[in-house]
């Protein structure tokens, strides 16, 4: 079965609204990494979050490893936040292999 599941599949926000993206992963994960991708662009690492809560700018990631879940909170969304957000689990037992979810597409309208 799918090892990394993301929800929702897509999200439409009005600029200024907050959003929460969810990621559930299998028990073999040792770490979580959140990525952002603009359409046609490369992957940008947002947060590398083994466990607990981490912040960067308007982004907050909370990972509860025992419950095999992570969330990415976007506060005060801006149109430039539009793109796809990927959650990827790291399995160190498989040579630091990253297994990606299929992403959450976010559209922030002005």
């Amino acid at each position: 079965g799918q090892q990394v599941q993301q929800s929702p599949a897509s999200l439409v926000l009005q600029e200024g609204e907050n959003a929460e993206l969810q990621c559930n992963f299998s028990s073999t994960a040792t770490r979580l990494q959140w990525f952002y991708q603009r359409p046609g662009g490369s992957l940008v690492s947002l947060l590398y979050n083994p466990s607990g809560t981490k912040h960067t700018g308007r982004l907050t990631s909370t990972t509860v490893t025992k419950e095999r879940r992570s969330s990415l909170h976007i506060s005060s969304s801006q149109t430039t936040d539009s793109g796809t957000y990927f959650c990827a689990m790291v399995d160190n037992s498989a040579g630091n292999k990253l297994t990606f979810g299929i992403g959450t597409r976010v559209l922030v309208r002005p």
């Binding site: 630091n96 979810g101 299929i102």
Partner: protein
């Protein structure tokens, strides 16, 4: 400025032709990776390289091979490309493969096989 580079950025080939995708990194990272990204499937791991001449298959290695002769360079080779290998290919690197080993990605190569 830490960087992963990929060449070429765009490539169009005919079915049956050979394809060479190049990746470079300037961070002296030991571990490098090749992924492909297809719509609705996210990214899938093709190969991992732990160091020079130390390569392992990922989840979808069939139809691909890799070469790592220098730590800073990692090549992906498609011998006799197929139309289903049309995709966007990403290279990544990390300092190691255990403990803290955040992966850094290149800009991608968009390959079209006609």
């Amino acid at each position: 400025d830490m960087k992963v580079t990929q060449m070429p950025r765009y490539l169009i080939k005919r079915m049956g032709e050979n394809v060479l995708l190049e990746c470079g990194q300037d961070m002296s990272h030991e571990t490098m990776y090749w992924y492909r990204q297809d719509p609705g499937l996210g990214l899938q791991l093709i190969y991992i390289s732990y160091d020079v001449d130390s390569n392992s298959e990922g989840d979808i290695p069939k139809g691909y091979r890799v070469s790592r002769k220098k730590r800073e360079h990692f090549s992906l080779i498609l011998d006799s490309a197929k139309t289903n290998q049309t995709s966007v290919y990403f290279c990544a690197s990390s300092l190691g493969w255990a403990n803290y080993a955040e992966q850094f990605f290149g800009p991608g190569t968009r390959l079209t096989v006609l």
